[in-house]
């Protein structure tokens, strides 16, 4: 597949994530849209790693080019998992205090 198809797909997924963040008021849905953006970037990174491998594969099919990128994608997933656990704990605490997950109630920092 040509690389620009993957780039456009990742851009479209990322933009849908941005749209979700801008149009929704539920904190959990906004959080899910952030996850969607992270995944779009992961997909692009894997596509670039395979592109990089393809550039080398004609000379050396056993090259390990592009493996580093996939390790980085793995670490992005690790950090995202840690981020989700802390973020959801914060949302649960917020729900316990103001009995809502509406981000418009959080426009005052002091209360």
């Amino acid at each position: 597949m040509p690389i620009n198809y993957y780039i456009i797909l990742a851009i479209a997924l990322f933009s849908i994530g941005v749209m979700g963040v801008l149009t929704r008021r539920n904190a959990i849905i906004i959080f899910m849209c952030v996850e969607l953006m992270l995944n779009a970037v992961n997909l692009l990174m894997v596509a670039f790693s395979k592109l990089h491998y393809g550039a080398v594969a004609t000379f050396n099919p056993y090259a390990s080019t592009g493996t580093d990128a996939q390790v980085f994608v793995f670490f992005i997933m690790v950090v995202a998992a840690a981020e989700v656990s802390v973020g959801l704990a914060i949302i649960v605490m917020m729900y316990r205090n103001i009995h809502s997950v509406d981000v418009n109630f959080l426009n005052r920092l002091k209360h």
Binding site: I11, L13, L22, I28, L51, A81, A82, S100
Partner: protein, 167 residues
């Protein structure tokens, strides 16, 4: 059209449609379920690119663990379509236009790149296999791998401390 091309378009349409449904559906539980569909479609893309390790990790970590966590929190708070807060119509329109402008700018920038269209992604090859990634992960990247465990420990402690009842 080869099988790969057909699968690529099928998975792309599935991912984009499910992402749009996730953003637009009123009920938060449906949003979570659509996001799981998106993650499975992205995993399908990984398999298509022969990145098998990441496909499995994506299903286990995202669709398996993170989405169950989201679903539990939503069920814990008893959120549904009636209690869902809605922005007013104009703010929604402005958000959609802003996201669309971002898409437009990126695509317009991409159209300027002539060389990029000639480059092909290698859909086979051993780059994403578990053996290769395992070798690299436990030799070159063993220190970040161990630090990730510390990160997980601190995230776990943080989540417990934040979620604790009382003061």
């Amino acid at each position: 059209m080869s099988v790969t091309v057909i699968l690529f378009w099928l998975l792309s349409v599935l991912a984009l449609g499910a992402a749009l449904m996730m953003v637009t559906s009123k009920n938060p539980v449906y949003s979570v379920l659509w996001l799981i569909v998106v993650f499975f479609a992205i995993s399908g893309h990984y398999i298509l690119m022969n990145a098998q390790f990441l496909a499995i990790v994506n299903i286990i970590v995202y669709a398996g663990a993170i989405m169950v966590l989201f679903l539990f929190v939503i069920m814990l708070m008893n959120l549904n379509a009636e209690t869902e807060p809605q922005k007013n119509k104009w703010l929604k329109l402005a958000g959609a236009v802003a996201g669309g402008c971002l898409l437009l700018v990126f695509v317009a920038a991409l159209r300027q790149t002539e060389l990029l269209k000639l480059q092909e992604v290698n859909m086979s090859g051993p780059t994403g296999l578990i053996r290769r990634l395992g070798m690299v992960l436990f030799t070159d990247y063993v220190l970040p791998f161990e630090i990730a465990s510390v990160l997980f420990l601190s995230a776990m402690v943080g989540a417990v401390v934040i979620g604790k009842k009382g003061d």
